[in-house]
Amino acid sequence: MLARIFNNLESLICRTLLSGFVLLLFVQIVAREVFGYSFSWIEELSVYMFVWFVFFGASYAALKGAHNRVTFQFRFLPRRHVKWIEAFADLFWVAFNVTFIWLSYDFVFNKMNKFWKSQTLGIEMKWVYVVLPVAFTLMTIRILQVNYIKLVRGDDVSDPDQIDLDAIQAETPATRVQEA
């Protein structure tokens, strides 16, 4: 149960945020076009929700192994070698993230101006920026998790672009006629 929630954490957060800001923007359009009224806080709030959505979404993409790599140079290498090379490349990713987590923690809690508040919401910008250390920490865990699945457990975490394709094929039996 806990494991299921943990593995769907970003997905849950992001679906909520995405529905939330889409709804807010819709309310703003209706209010403006129908009632000639504008909520001054909607634009700012929706942009902040969007930023949170993006960085948790990036973590989710890491969990799905969806971050684009250039792979044509590996075409003639067996898959089992490629995943070690990619794991080596991911070390740079982890190093980058750890650096960034430290930098963003330092920025948010030490360096950032303490008066800095959002203009229309009045909340301290610190609590908006805090998404950076949090989401990058989560993303780093996901990178390690995916490599664990690939290298230790030996399962494949395939690009979700490919999964889409399987779904398409499943829906169109007509395409399979010849190799049936």
């Binding site: 992001c14 995405l18 889409v22 359009i29 942009v47 930098l103 950076l132 490919q162 190799e179």
Partner: protein, 446 residues
């Protein structure tokens, strides 16, 4: 110092790409290393991470991705393609021509090339095979037309181009020489892509006609069925309204692109739930989820590409590149040719959105300095990268078409070559005749 940093930055970037690091990591790590070598404090990354992503116009990206996914789930896409198919008539290459048209129709609601290929290919590739078309040819037509999805608005690559180009000022020397340049906006780009998209579609139709005649693909025996067309038009009424809602809102200036996408989402939910009744909770969740990882993946690249671009700007590297290019030649046609061939080459290996984010800071200053209009440049760039979808080794449309037809990527890309060739010729025409892109936005008062 500048050349050393350029070498370090691009060198480590390419090295990381070659060992298979994600593009965003290659950009981020090479920038980080360069920052440290230059003695700059990388804490700058933190604010760039937030502000590069936190902009209102950028919200058009997830909104259009979500709108596209929902239209699929709501059954809007399917009906749109059925309408196009019903027009496949008794003439040579009729059904494959209908495929091109279907991509154009579908492109008007979707902002993505692979999504266009998948949606159209799913229905049209089997249909073509049933009528005796060669499987390789059927796949090639679809993969080649899928690129229309990003040229005809709405277009996710154009959103990204607009964001990347928005903050870039024309260099003062360029303004002194060529006068002021118009400002970049996503709405303008969307409108500018309209005529070029029809031009590319026409060129694909022409090539299809020639090839179909050679291969002896005649039309169907029954001729046009007025009844089928009417039925499909009737069934597809609400689907055909979708592009009108999106484009009409933007073209009349009623909505910003972000708002148009939001309205499209609302419209799709209404049609999917109330009229077609095909939208389920499960497909709604799936659409939200796909939007999440697609957006997260692109915009993480936006963050690192912005840092990368900032390094270039602070060290005035784009100006140097522009200068050395102008030393080579200042003939605008030669420059265009270099730009297009370079984009075609990069498009073979690289993902489209990342390419735009990385190349705009480098190439737009070159374009400005020879007097190329930024909107015109954006249209040509997106058109040229659209071909990348159909060229190996990384050709997203090829993968999808190959998945549907079970034909090897090599064979499809070979069959797609004539289409790529005529497409390239069309892009040269679009590049050499700026009015093709700039006339419509001006007419509509942008």
């Amino acid at each position: 110092m500048e050349t050393e940093i350029t070498t370090l930055l691009f060198g480590s970037f390419l090295l990381l790409l070659i060992i298979g690091a994600p593009i965003t990591v290659a950009l981020g790590v090479s920038s980080l290393v360069s920052f440290v070598v230059l003695g700059d404090n990388p804490i700058k990354f933190v604010q760039i991470a937030f502000t590069s992503v936190g902009s209102f116009p950028l919200m058009a990206l997830p909104a259009f991705i979500l709108a596209g996914a929902l239209m699929e789930a709501a059954g809007i896409s399917k009906r749109l393609i059925n309408v196009a198919e019903s027009f496949a008539g008794p003439f040579t290459g009729g059904i494959s021509a209908a495929t091109v048209m279907a991509c154009l129709f579908f492109g008007a609601i979707s902002g993505s090339g692979p999504a266009t290929t998948a949606a159209v290919g799913m229905l049209m590739i089997p249909a073509m095979i049933r009528r005796g078309y060669d499987k390789g040819y059927a796949s090639a037509v679809t993969a080649s037309s899928g690129g229309l999805g990003i040229v005809i608005p709405p277009s996710i690559p154009m959103v990204i181009f607009g964001i990347a180009a928005l903050g870039m000022v024309p260099p003062p020397e360029a303004v002194a020489e060529h006068g002021t340049f118009q400002s970049v906006s996503i709405s303008k780009l969307f409108i500018a892509g309209f005529v070029p998209a029809f031009l590319i579609a026409s060129s694909l139709l022409l090539m299809n006609f020639l090839l179909a005649r050679k291969r002896g693909y005649s039309g169907n025996a029954e001729g046009w069925s007025m009844q089928t067309i009417t039925t499909q038009l009737y069934k597809g009424f609400w689907s055909l309204m979708a592009p009108l809602v999106i484009l009409g809102g933007i073209y009349t200036g009623f909505f910003t692109p972000t708002e148009a996408a939001i309205v499209a989402i609302a419209y799709t939910l209404f049609v999917g739930v109330v009229i077609y009744r095909e939208l389920t909770w499960k497909s709604l969740f799936q659409s939200l989820e796909a939007t999440t990882w697609l957006t997260g993946r692109v915009l993480l690249i936006l963050f690192t590409a912005t840092v990368f671009g900032r390094l270039l700007v602070e060290n005035q590297i784009p100006a140097m590149i522009a200068e050395s290019m102008l030393d080579l030649t200042s003939n605008i046609y030669v420059i265009w040719a270099l730009i297009i061939f370079f984009l075609l080459f990069v498009g073979m290996f690289m993902e489209t959105l990342a390419t735009i984010l990385i190349l705009v800071p480098v190439m737009l200053p070159v374009a400005y300095s020879v007097g190329i209009d930024p909107i015109h440049f954006g249209v040509v760039m997106v058109c040229a990268l659209g071909i990348g979808f159909q060229t190996p080794p990384l050709g997203e449309n090829l993968f999808i078409a190959s998945g549907i037809s079970n034909i090897s990527i090599e064979e499809i890309s070979l069959r797609a070559l004539p289409f790529a060739a005529i497409n390239t010729i069309t892009i040269f025409i679009i590049a050499f005749v700026p009015e093709l892109s700039l006339w419509l936005p001006r007419l509509l008062g942008y």
